[in-house]
Symmetry: C2
Subunit: 311 residues, 2 copies
């Protein structure tokens, strides 16, 4: 199939590119570790050209990008849109990269401009654009990750969002805190394990108790010889349970949660939500970002096909 | 004044020794970084002998030790006492180091043996022994640090305690997380600063919101150009406010809090408690550990002076 555009998710430490046909299907793809950190050294243009050549992409093929390439330290700044903001503005307010003859657009992130709790999103907004481009127009989205995002969407507008540092805290605590002795070299958490689910329940019941519950992993190692896998699963469960407990305590309704995730994190959060008796709608994060980028591409370069169903 | 004993607080990364007269006053002292980590390599006996010679201590002077030297990875294990436990047992159940002709005693730590939340103390129990050897027989003690301890004491018995990983989380987040960009090279927190006190109030009001409030420091940097000192003070305030909020939410009474601390941490926690309208009793942690070690010494080697007033 002929490529209609190239779509790129350009994060801090990862780079993913897809060539897409006019109907949004993926023709070919590449991945590398040339995220913003490396590309800022190598040059964003150089990294892009290398991958475009490797994919045999035509010189004139246009490119749509989301993620950290649009940050102030990135290729060219695509300023945050202030929430509340219609998702459609993510495409409408994209910037075109100055210089290259090729048409390259970068999608902006979202900002919560409130001095008591300022917050930012860059990258996940494009997943939201994709996730809410079909039958879903409203909902509470949970997007787990290094910095988990919880986002309220109403009539295809982002009305509010919050960031929880769950994934980053997990890495720091598991690998660099005193608890590293308890988790040892364990690196896999079974989403159905009793230790994981008990920890989710414990922290969800009292998310403010996180710091004390974390240290109980040390106590479990010293007093009861708790195994490393068990400690690892408990650590994972405590952090996820605490995030979910804190985030849900701010919701009035028990509407299903839209879980936008992939891989291991999708399995862990799914298991956590189900064990807490919460309904979820699973949305694959990789597919969502592809759909979001495609939505942008169709906005910039309207083709002959029918537009995505979007407000 | 003639030395009656040597008293040592032997932590993971620090070593402090005092020669004490028969009335408990300090005759001379030394400090070094030869904590358990280094002493386990060099040899505990070697480290002790070096400092005793440097202090011109007699060959027969007895030694009382608290802290990590009594852990399983230390010099000789002094097994945890299970709470509830009378503080007097810390002296009564000390172990004598096998081998040396010199009389060397190591005080045990405390354990909370409950599978739902096991916890341990090693070192702070001796501060408690000192803090509760005078006019105070009961109270809620806050002992801030890398691993802050909150301890309930009733009639000179420890009835319960909890550990919060506040200091360790602070170091990891300030120096290794994404927030390191926001705090930069700032390393001083003014206990009276508006940023510190506002953060204490924010996190105390909703300790479960910690992870989200932490990320707002990133938002403040990106959206409002918040200064590094301001971010550092806010980070410190959020972690202390969250600890205090979580710990106090489990208390029924508004009794004064016994703040056992020294130096910068004493000033920060004092300011935090006062701003929250809580009464405190300040107890210097260094003096408390000296008094606790002295209490042990008088138990092992009763002299001619009056015993400390203790149950």
């Amino acid at each position: 199939m002929q490529a209609f555009c190239a779509a790129i998710d350009w994060g801090t430490t990862s780079f993913r590119i897809w060539l897409m046909a006019e109907d949004g299907s993926v023709v070919s793809e590449r991945r590398s570790n040339e995220g913003m950190t490396i590309a800022a050294e190598t040059g964003f243009q150089t990294v892009l050209d290398t991958h475009m050549r490797a994919l045999d992409a035509p010189q004139t093929l246009p490119v749509v990008i989301c993620g950290m390439a649009g940050s102030r330290q990135g290729w060219q700044e695509a300023r945050y849109l202030t929430v509340p903001s219609p998702l459609a503005d993510i495409a409408a307010k994209a910037v075109r990269v100055n210089g290259p003859s090729r048409d390259i657009r970068i999608l902006p992130g979202l900002a919560r401009r409130e001095t008591a709790r300022p917050d930012v999103i860059r990258g996940e907004e494009t997943q939201l654009l994709g996730a809410f481009s079909g039958s879903h127009a409203s909902g509470l989205a949970c997007m787990p990750g290094t910095h988990s995002k919880w986002v309220k969407v109403s009539n295809r507008s982002v009305t509010d969002f919050s960031t929880y540092m769950t994934g980053e805290l997990f890495s720091l605590i598991a690998r660099r805190s005193i608890l590293r002795h308890a988790v040892g070299d364990a690196d896999n958490c079974d989403p159905e394990s009793g230790d994981f689910l008990q920890a989710v329940a414990d922290a969800h019941a009292n998310p403010s108790d996180l710091s004390r519950l974390l240290f109980s992993i040390r106590g479990g190692q010293l007093l009861y010889g708790r195994e490393v896998t068990s400690s690892f699963e408990r650590l994972s469960g405590l952090l996820i349970g605490s995030e979910v407990g804190a985030a849900l305590s701010m919701q009035e309704t028990r509407e299903p949660i839209m879980l936008i995730a992939s891989g291991k994190l999708a399995a862990l959060y799914k298991s956590a939500f189900l064990s807490l008796g919460r309904e979820i709608v699973m949305i694959d994060a990789d597919e969502a970002v592809q759909r979001g980028l495609y939505y942008g591409a169709r906005h910039f370069w309207p083709g002959t096909d029918t537009q995505a169903d979007y407000g």
